[in-house]
């Protein structure tokens, strides 16, 4: 493929991103009745844009760049179409939005001792669980040694992140403590029983 064609495809991809985001904007912002066609068309154009960027930017790099383009384009649409001044009189069109929203449940940190316990659970205890799961993943993940390490290195933060959120949400501190300790113990056992 010639460089000129690659650049032309890249520009087409940029246009596809703009039109795709515009279709989603039409579906979700202007139209009070969400239209499946607009939504499907919008997302399809965004996927096509990633594919069109490939020849110019490379496969994985093209996906990353098109994702950035979508984020920036959508943010521009939000800024342009946002309500920045107070509506006056009948001219103000309503902005479609889902009414209401949940209020958070009461969390575990209701008193100082419980707050300290929650922080301890969210940081050292969750970190121990995350690292233990990482070591277990490094030893038990099938595949090449590099794949095992990378799986563990990306998997452990996810476990840690999940544990952090959970410990900050669950009111039953004893349950959180018990499950995290049990999880860490199971990971430790998996390490002891590792394949040789």
């Amino acid at each position: 493929m010639t460089p000129t064609l690659q650049i032309a495809l890249a520009w087409t991809a940029t246009l596809a991103v703009a039109v795709g985001v515009w279709l989603l904007w039409l579906a979700w912002k202007r139209n009070p009745k969400p239209r499946g066609g607009l939504i499907a068309g919008g997302w399809a154009l965004l996927v096509v844009a990633a594919a069109l960027l490939g020849p110019w930017a490379g496969g994985d790099r093209g996906v990353a760049i098109s994702t950035l383009l979508v984020a920036v384009a959508a943010t521009v649409f939000i800024v342009v179409s946002g309500r920045w001044t107070l509506p006056h009189g009948k001219k103000a069109k309503p902005i479609r939005a889902t009414a209401g929203g949940a209020d958070p449940a009461t969390g575990p940190a209701t008193t100082w001792p419980r707050t300290v316990a929650t922080v301890l659970l969210a940081l050292p205890v969750s970190t121990a669980a995350g690292v233990a799961s990482g070591v277990a993943m490094a030893l038990w993940t099938p595949g090449a040694p590099a794949d095992k390490l990378v799986t563990a290195a990306f998997g452990a933060p996810l476990v840690l992140a999940g544990a952090m959120v959970w410990t900050c949400a669950d009111r039953k501190l004893l349950r959180t403590t018990a499950i995290l300790i049990a999880f860490t113990a199971v990971c430790a056992l998996a390490v002891v029983l590792r394949p040789h």
């Binding site: 790099r61 950035l68 939000i78 939005a97 209401g100 070591v135 390490l149 990378v150 949400a169």
Partner: protein
């Protein structure tokens, strides 16, 4: 941090007359996840904000280095002979340097330069050492983002924990807002405070989510990898970390201090001639002049996301090994792609600008998340006034002291670590003690704006004409634009109480 649209303030809505395609999520689950989202956000908000702010600025680290040291010589291409001469000169000047990293000119760092420990030296076109260009403020910024100025290993782990917390917040944010996509374009700044902050928080979150998740997750990975490696090495290799990382970084050759000829870097670089898909950018030189010396070259692959492919060369400049970051299994490719994805270094200035904008959005999301929580408390008659003031001081104080650290480093060479953290601590303490949050927001925005303008003046006075050309001009204009945007020009909207 609750980003839910407040029920009592939601605008009149137009209901859809078709059944929703979105799955029903049990309200109790949403409320519980929202509780975790709020709790974790509050615990980690200050550190997340400082890491995000410094990371957003650090996207432009190379541009800031050029701006901070505009007098150092630049060149778009370095001849192999100049590289050879520079390597020999650096080794002669620093014979005890174990490892020397030589950066070849690239579009965003058009200099032939060498890292020796914490120092950076630049070369002229002939490869002679032209001087030091260590860019201490840029170095400070880098350490702020990566280590929070803590001892390096501890700092890296703390920042990794911040990344994990941010990852958890992003995922829990989506779980707690099942209708977030449906409202993806509804932005009502002119409304009750909690509504406008919720819209700001949710809109910037939903569209920036892929970027936010990638930088948070890769940040957590980069930070916590050290901790994980210690643990894996402790279990499997009796603490030998090099052995654990060998599948990715390759085996580290044994040191052999027996004298040996200096490697032929001209021949080394000649190996890349006729290979347009490989652009050498970094040469790593270990134990030069000994039999155990190691010459490794990182070559950028322009159409790949990976930071580079790495090649090892012998003393005669013959390629002996390819590490395989580009093609040896998915794990290595994911590993090598994570750094450009985190730092935004995979697409030149346009990608950096996008990273800068989305990074700023992440700062706003962090700030608005805490503001929503504080506003809800105030709406319910339980205002946390000290926390409101402290948060205002952290958000706008850190931007002001970041600018202050640059101004004082440029003008008087005051160590920026002190001029960032000490005034920030004083500001938070002062804010808690006196006035109200509104006063601190307005005052610190004015201060940030004025100091940013002062930074430009100081740089222009210090470097004269160099401040008005090339990268320096771009950075200075950006700083002035930021100063204009941050200044509180408009009278605040008279918002209805929720």
């Amino acid at each position: 941090m609750d980003a839910a649209t407040p029920p009592e303030t939601a605008e009149k809505t137009e209901p859809a007359n078709r059944p929703s395609i979105w799955p029903k999520v049990p309200p109790a689950f949403v409320r519980t996840v929202l509780s975790g989202h709020s709790g974790l956000g509050l615990v980690a908000a200050a550190l997340i904000y400082i890491v995000c702010l410094s990371g957003t600025v650090a996207v432009f680290l190379n541009e800031l280095k050029l701006w901070e040291e505009p007098a150092a010589p630049t060149q778009t291409v370095a001849s192999p002979q100049a590289v050879q001469a520079f390597a020999e000169a650096i080794t002669k000047a620093h014979p005890k340097a174990g490892v020397v990293y030589m950066g070849l000119p690239t579009p965003d760092m058009p200099r032939l330069h060498a890292f020796v420990g914490e120092q950076v030296f630049v070369a002229d076109a002939q490869g002679r050492i032209a001087g030091e260009a260590s860019a201490p403020w840029a170095h400070f910024l880098e350490h702020l983002h990566i280590y929070l100025h803590l001892p390096e290993t501890i700092g890296l782990i703390v920042v990794g924990l911040v990344g994990a917390a941010l990852t958890g917040l992003i995922v829990s944010g989506f779980l707690a807002h099942p209708k977030i996509f449906r409202d993806a374009f509804a932005f009502r700044w002119a409304g009750a405070k909690r509504l406008s902050q919720a819209d700001l928080h949710n809109r910037l979150s939903v569209w920036g989510a892929p970027f936010h998740l990638v930088v948070a997750w890769t940040g957590a990975y980069i930070g916590l990898a050290t901790l994980l490696l210690f643990a894996v090495a402790g279990v499997t290799t009796k603490g030998d970390i090099a052995k654990v990382t060998a599948p990715i970084y390759g085996e580290v050759p044994k040191a052999d201090p027996t004298p040996a000829p200096f490697p032929d870097l001209v021949a080394t670089l000649a190996w890349f001639d006729g290979k347009p898909d490989l652009k050498p950018t970094l040469i790593s030189l270990t134990a030069l002049g000994t039999k155990g010396q190691l010459v490794e070259v990182n070559a950028l692959m322009p159409k790949r996301l990976i930071y580079a492919e790495r090649y090892t060369f012998d003393v005669q400049g013959r390629m002996t090994r390819k590490l395989g970051l580009s093609d040896d299994g998915l794990g290595k490719q994911v590993f090598a792609s994570s750094y450009p994805l985190h730092f935004g270094s995979f697409g030149g200035l346009p990608v950096k600008i996008a990273y800068g904008l989305l990074g700023a959005a992440l700062c706003v999301v962090t700030s608005s998340g805490v503001t929503i929580w504080l506003t809800r408390r105030r709406d319910r008659g339980r205002p946390a006034e000290r926390l409101e003031k402290a948060w205002a001081a952290i958000v706008w104080g850190s931007t002001a002291t970041l600018a202050l650290s640059a101004a004082l480093q440029l003008a008087l060479k005051v160590p920026p670590v002190w001029t960032f953290w000490a005034p920030l601590a004083v500001l938070v303490a002062a804010a808690v003690a006196v006035k109200d949050a509104r006063f601190w927001i307005v005052s610190l925005r004015i201060a940030t704006s004025a100091i940013l303008a002062a930074v430009v003046v100081v740089q222009a006075v210090k470097f004269g004409g160099l401040a008005f050309g090339g990268v320096s001009l771009g950075v200075n204009l950006t700083l002035l634009a930021l100063a204009a945007v941050i200044a509180p020009w408009r009278k605040p909207l008279a918002r209805a109480a929720a």
